[in-house]
């Protein structure tokens, strides 16, 4: 690789604070009369997709929206709990657009693009206004004003929330706006429809090929631009906090058609989840991080100590976070706390039936402030925990373990949220932008809605107004050829008729990625994974069983296609993790740490976004680098001391 990067981030000139304003003015507009002549295909109905589809349609574009869910309201965004950030500074505690920008750049460990992050902070305030106008029932103070809280260690209270169901309420707001447009006939909605390929004409994204999940019919949707809002790829790990059906197929197939994939190894692991309890386990449940404010984390000092926790005296407990990080203690940042838990379990000191768990103990807090006050603070969480584990956390310490939660990596996009394929835009968790190597709590919802309501609807107009688009014949040979490819792939999966289930392969893959490309990564481990993954993939294509036929609802077939893609994406993740020999954010390379075990960045060699270009099956992908310049926030090492 030499010299000039093929990536043009198209960051507007001028001072940081005025870039977006100025860009909005300089972008070409599509006249109101012309908007209805353009069709935009939006894939996904989560916060990003639903807000974009509704807004584009309000502006007058023709919109086709597809989702594999039976209703747009069921997208994974519905499950977000904690809240959404915005630089409103309602509590008057010193927040500002600049502070939110600064916190996000720093929290992302200096691996995000300054201009994008500043714009995100700017529009954050509009999101709250928009959501309130739609009727999102945010929490309120007695006087009727909006309530705020501080979240994820932020020093200001900038998080807006709707009980523990913020994602649900924000999504329903966007969903209702979308349903309004569907009712008016302005959005053509296709639920139960899964995008399986991207359609390129003259090098531009002009549509998607999708399978009707009920009839199995493969069909193309043709338009003038395509927007992928298909979410993250955390389920490559098999077990994660994501909804079971979340997958990477849309972005992966677009990648194979030419869209660069950036920073695939940047994944986030959340320290407080309910641990795995058996082989049947299908997903992991997040427990709010706020529990660490009062709970103390420990494991038995001695490996193999099988006594019930309450019978282990204090002297034989290891409160390892308090021991290792005396000043932060149990409130050590997400990545630190996660890695420390893995370490003690690797040493054989983990608790619970599987040995993959640590205690989060409220005994001292209950003694100090009484059970009632603890119930007041965490009652609903304790109840949820008890419902799942059948254990009473007032009496027995909770067991927790880290779990994969979010993916910062995704398709590379420029300032206009367009990928390296002209016309293909990527929004929400599916793109790589804004969060760098680590996402702050309550910032994913903000980014999804910023992209969908306030950024993409402008930038896509610029693309449409400045492109000459030829007519695409839906029955023409180019379209037919891709449809045939998609059908063949389906037939191939059905024809293997092997002996192992799709889930067994997914579980096997997940274990490898979790062990070797999870909380801590090493050169040797990643090389092992890079040898193992192709073997699992080869066995998958020779020995998987997909019962049933392709002409009906066939959930095993859906899963098989998604797992096949995870089997390829996992390899790229490991390759990316191997090449980035520094530690940063969620990416911890054991070789790159300070004397006291903290992540050690290498800005001299790695202050760039790594964008991988597909070069063919079995061929090494090509790395392009987008250099990241920090002109406003000065590079500094994160510290928890």
């Amino acid at each position: 690789m030499s010299g000039a990067s093929p990536l043009n981030a198209r960051v507007p000139a001028g001072p940081l604070e005025t870039k977006w304003e100025r860009h909005k003015f300089e972008m070409k507009l599509v006249s109101p009369a012309n908007k209805r002549k353009y069709t935009v295909i939006v894939v996904g109905t989560g916060l990003a997709g639903a807000s974009a589809a509704a807004t584009l349609s309000e502006l007058g574009y023709r919109v086709i929206n597809i989702t594999y869910h039976d209703s747009p309201r069921r997208a994974h965004s519905i499950a977000a709990q904690g809240g959404i950030n915005a630089a409103k500074n309602y509590p008057n505690d010193g927040d500002s657009v600049f502070r939110l920008f600064y916190d996000t750049i720093k929290g992302g460990d200096f691996r995000a693009r300054e201009a994008n992050v500043h714009r995100l902070a700017e529009v954050s305030v509009n999101i709250i206004d928009q959501c309130v106008a739609q009727g999102v029932p945010f929490a309120r103070e007695y006087g009727g004003l909006l309530a705020n809280r501080s979240f994820g260690g932020a020093q200001v209270s900038r998080t807006f929330y709707a009980r523990g169901q913020t994602g649900q309420q924000l999504l329903l707001g966007a969903y209702q706006a979308l349903e309004r447009q569907i009712g008016r006939g302005a959005v053509e909605m296709h639920p139960h429809t899964e995008m399986l390929d991207l359609l390129l004409v003259d090098g531009r994204a002009r549509g998607v090929v999708a399978r009707d999940l009920i009839t199995g019919h493969v069909q193309s949707f043709i338009g003038d631009a395509v927007v992928l809002a298909t979410g993250g790829y955390a389920n490559v790990f098999y077990l994660s906090t994501n909804a079971r059906n979340s997958n990477a197929t849309a972005i992966w197939r677009a990648h194979k058609r030419g869209a660069a994939f950036a920073n695939p190894c940047f994944t986030q692991i959340h320290p407080t989840c309910i641990p795995v309890s058996g082989d049947y386990q299908s997903k992991l449940t997040l427990m709010s991080e706020s529990l660490r404010n009062d709970g103390r984390v420990w494991v038995p000092a001695r490996g193999g100590d099988a006594r019930p926790p309450n019978e282990i005296p204090d002297a034989e407990r290891d409160y390892y976070l308090e021991r290792k990080y005396p000043s932060f203690g149990n409130l050590a940042p997400r990545d630190i706390a996660s890695r420390a838990a893995k370490q003690v379990c690797d040493e054989g000191r983990g608790v619970g039936a599987t040995g993959l768990g640590v205690y989060l103990d409220f005994r001292d807090a209950i003694q100090r402030s009484g059970a009632a006050s603890i119930a007041d603070r965490y009652g609903n969480l304790f109840e949820m925990y008890q419902r799942i584990t059948d254990e009473d956390p007032y009496r027995v310490p909770m067991r927790i373990y880290p779990a994969v939660h979010y993916t910062m990596g995704g398709l590379w996009v420029d300032y206009n949220l367009m990928s390296t394929i002209p016309g293909l835009h990527v929004i929400g968790e599916a793109n790589f932008s804004d969060h760098g190597a680590n996402r702050l709590g309550a910032s994913a919802l903000m980014q999804g809605l910023a992209d969908g309501y306030f950024i993409l609807p402008y930038t896509i107009g610029d693309y449409l107004a400045s492109s000459r688009l030829s007519r695409v014949d839906a029955a023409g040979p180019e379209v037919r050829a891709i449809e045939a490819e998609v059908e063949q792939r389906t037939q191939r999966l059905l024809a293997i008729k092997g002996r192992r289930t799709v889930d067994s392969f997914h579980r096997q893959l997940g274990r490898v990625v979790w062990e070797k490309c999870g909380m801590a990564r090493t050169d040797a481990g990643l090389r092992e994974a890079l040898a193992e993954i192709p073997e699992i993939r080869a066995e998958f294509w020779a020995n998987v069983t997909v019962p049933g036929v392709g002409e009906t609802l066939n959930q095993a077939l859906e899963k098989a296609g998604r797992v096949a893609d995870f089997l390829e994406l996992a390899e790229l993740m490991c390759l990316d993790a191997l090449h980035r020999t520094e530690s940063c954010g969620g990416h911890f390379r054991e070789e790159s740490q300070t004397a006291d075990g903290e992540a050690l960045r290498d800005d001299e060699h790695f202050a760039y976004a790594a964008a991988w270009q597909y070069a063919g099956d079995g061929v090494a992908p090509v790395l392009a680098k987008e250099p990241l310049a920090f002109e406003t926030v000065h590079l500094s090492q994160r510290s928890y001391k």
């Binding site: 309130v132 069983t545 609802l553």
Partner: protein
């Protein structure tokens, strides 16, 4: 634990369905109901048999995908829980469990336990929104919402759209679903301008979708995984009468047609 499952299998929308019995040995009491079905499906798949189709996604009671009658009860025996939040320890080992899809003319069966619930989306299309196109919203704190109104709106807004209320209702009414949305929006100042119109069109759409009428059996609130109170229906009925009384004739006609 050990169970016998009596599961409704139906190959497609037009196919005739019927119950098939499956032995379910070696089930962990800590498995959720859906994880138990995963285990059964894994065993079926290993033999090359078609797994049981069922809807699911979040598996934490928020997306509203999962939907099944367990021994005739929508979402099974645990109150305030969706099927995915029910664990096998809630049953007795040796039990025979009968598992069926939602039964309602408005929710046709697609396959096995999967039904088509698009009728609920169409009720929202008819008016379950506040018209507030993106851009131009005023500062959020210029709209004051008393805390109790915001809390009550949130209670109603917590509906996950699973359709258990319809499945549980002897008349197959979607009143709890519709009224929950009307209550959420009708309690907020932002929702006032469209309140009457919204009520009339959503109720009209509900009728058009072949949902039954509400006769206040109250089964819906028992089945609701979010425990939404039947009070919202009383509120909807009051609003409906008021809306009809004040509506201009053309609007009523349009909404009903």
């Amino acid at each position: 634990m050990e169970f016998t499952l009596r599961v409704w299998r139906q190959a497609g929308p037009a196919a005739a369905g019927g119950f098939v019995d499956y032995p379910a040995p070696d089930i962990s009491p800590d498995a959720s109901f859906l994880e138990m079905l995963d285990v059964i499906n894994e065993r079926l798949s290993e033999r090359g048999d078609e797994p049981i189709a069922f809807s699911h996604d979040c598996r934490e009671g928020i997306c509203g995908s999962c939907a099944m009658m367990i021994d005739g009860v929508a979402h099974g025996p645990v109150s305030g829980a969706a099927t995915c939040q029910v664990h096998m320890r809630s049953f007795r080992t040796g039990d025979t469990l009968t598992i069926e899809p939602w039964r309602s003319v408005a929710f046709p069966v697609i396959k096995d336990l999967v039904t088509d619930r698009a009728a609920l989306d169409r009720i929202i299309q008819a008016g379950g929104f506040i018209t507030a196109p993106t851009g131009g919203a005023r500062d959020a704190n210029e709209i004051l919402v008393p805390k109790d109104a915001a809390d009550a709106a949130m209670d109603a807004a917590s509906c996950i759209g699973c359709g258990a209320c319809v499945a549980a209702c002897p008349n197959g009414s979607a009143s709890l679903f519709t009224a929950a949305k009307l209550t959420h929006l009708g309690l907020l100042p932002q929702g006032q301008p469209e309140r009457s119109r919204r009520t009339i069109s959503m109720v009209a759409q509900m009728d058009r979708e072949h949902f039954g009428h509400c006769t206040m059996f109250g089964e819906c609130q028992e089945a609701c995984p979010k425990q939404i109170s039947i009070d919202v229906i009383a509120r909807m009925n009051r609003d409906y009468v008021r809306a009809l009384a004040t509506a201009r004739p053309d609007r009523t006609a349009a909404a009903a047609g």
